[in-house]
């Protein structure tokens, strides 16, 4: 295939193909560097001065579960009950539920302000109550 491409003379091609000597021990020096790289990677993958992340993670998870379980029986130093994480979550849920079920408060002044903006007549108090009822039904 190369013969069909007479771009270079045989002499130049032979010189290009000639082996290149990088000096005695060039291959041994490559292996030396590879061994050094291998030793470095072994050191780098070994955890030093701390527990393995998986062990640390397991310990943290266990302590978290223990805190939640034992939290209900824990007492504050003042003698009163200290709220636990479960208490706090329950409190947030009950507050959110109250807000959802509470009837919306319709402020007449706001209606008037909106009417001014839209140039529509402001609703009478009766209409306002009807509107509030409609909102409640929604």
């Amino acid at each position: 295939m190369l013969d069909r491409e007479p771009f270079l003379s045989d002499d130049v091609r032979a010189r290009l193909r000639a082996p290149v000597d990088l000096g005695a021990g060039a291959r041994a020096r490559v292996m030396q560097r590879v061994r050094e790289a291998a030793a470095l990677s072994r050191v780098a993958t070994r955890p030093r001065g701390m527990a393995r992340p998986s062990v640390l993670g397991a310990l943290l998870a266990a302590s978290f579960v223990a805190a939640i379980v034992s939290g209900g029986t824990r007492s504050a130093s003042g003698g009163g009950e200290q709220s636990t994480l479960a208490d706090t979550i329950a409190m947030h849920f009950s507050t959110a539920a109250e807000v959802v079920t509470k009837a919306p408060v319709i402020d007449r002044e706001r209606f008037v302000a909106v009417a001014d903006e839209t140039r529509n007549p402001a609703p009478s108090p009766q209409e306002g109550r009807r509107a509030a009822k409609q909102i409640r039904r929604d």
């Binding site: 491409e5 771009f7 270079l8 130049v12 000639a18 290149v20 000096g23 060039a26 790289a37």
Partner: protein
């Protein structure tokens, strides 16, 4: 006894037999040294590029998927290594030339460049892409599909690079002989 394939040797190295890597070094060092020398033009630069490529290959061995084509894979690493070096060297030369221009001095190539033999000198005058293609084609005697997989260039572009590179190389060598 049959020699183990590159892929079998790679498996041994991954399994922890570091010294088996020496087999891969023995098999591929010569062609890598020749390529790096023709591209970079100096023994020292070539040796460093070849060493870096083997170390890089060793580090990436566990993630290397084409285990039956280790030769092409490590040549790709070397080609990229040489490209990086050539870009870096060009920047250095440009910086040095700019400094010398500011100091009203002319830029002269280093002794290393001046002492290159005729062929190395001629190769050094080719654009990097042409030099890469000519060396892989004529020093390594690779087919265009192999060169394409190593360099990432299209076959049509490679054929053009080889043709133009060879024309230029011939002209430089003829001019050099006529001048001497």
């Amino acid at each position: 006894m049959n020699e183990p394939s590159d892929s079998a040797v790679v498996q041994r190295v991954i399994a922890g037999d570091l010294e088996a890597f020496a087999l891969l070094v023995d098999r591929h060092h010569a062609r890598m040294a020749r390529y790096a020398f023709h591209l970079l033009g100096s023994d020292a630069e070539a040796e460093e590029a070849v060493q870096d490529s083997f170390v890089r290959a060793y580090r990436s061995l566990s993630t290397y998927a084409e285990r039956d084509q280790f030769g092409a894979w490590i040549m790709r690493i070397l080609v990229n290594r040489c490209r990086t070096r050539l870009v870096r060297d060009k920047r250095r030369e440009e910086t040095a030339a700019a400094w010398l221009r500011e100091a009203d001095q002319t830029f002269e190539p280093s002794d290393e460049l001046a002492n290159r033999d005729e062929l190395s000198n001629a190769l050094a005058q080719l654009p990097n892409e042409q030099r890469e293609a000519v060396v892989l084609r004529y020093a390594d005697e690779l087919g265009y599909d192999e060169i394409s997989s190593i360099t990432g260039a299209k076959i049509s572009a490679l054929k053009m690079r080889v043709k133009r590179g060879c024309e230029r190389l011939r002209a430089i060598l003829e001019a050099s002989r006529a001048g001497s």
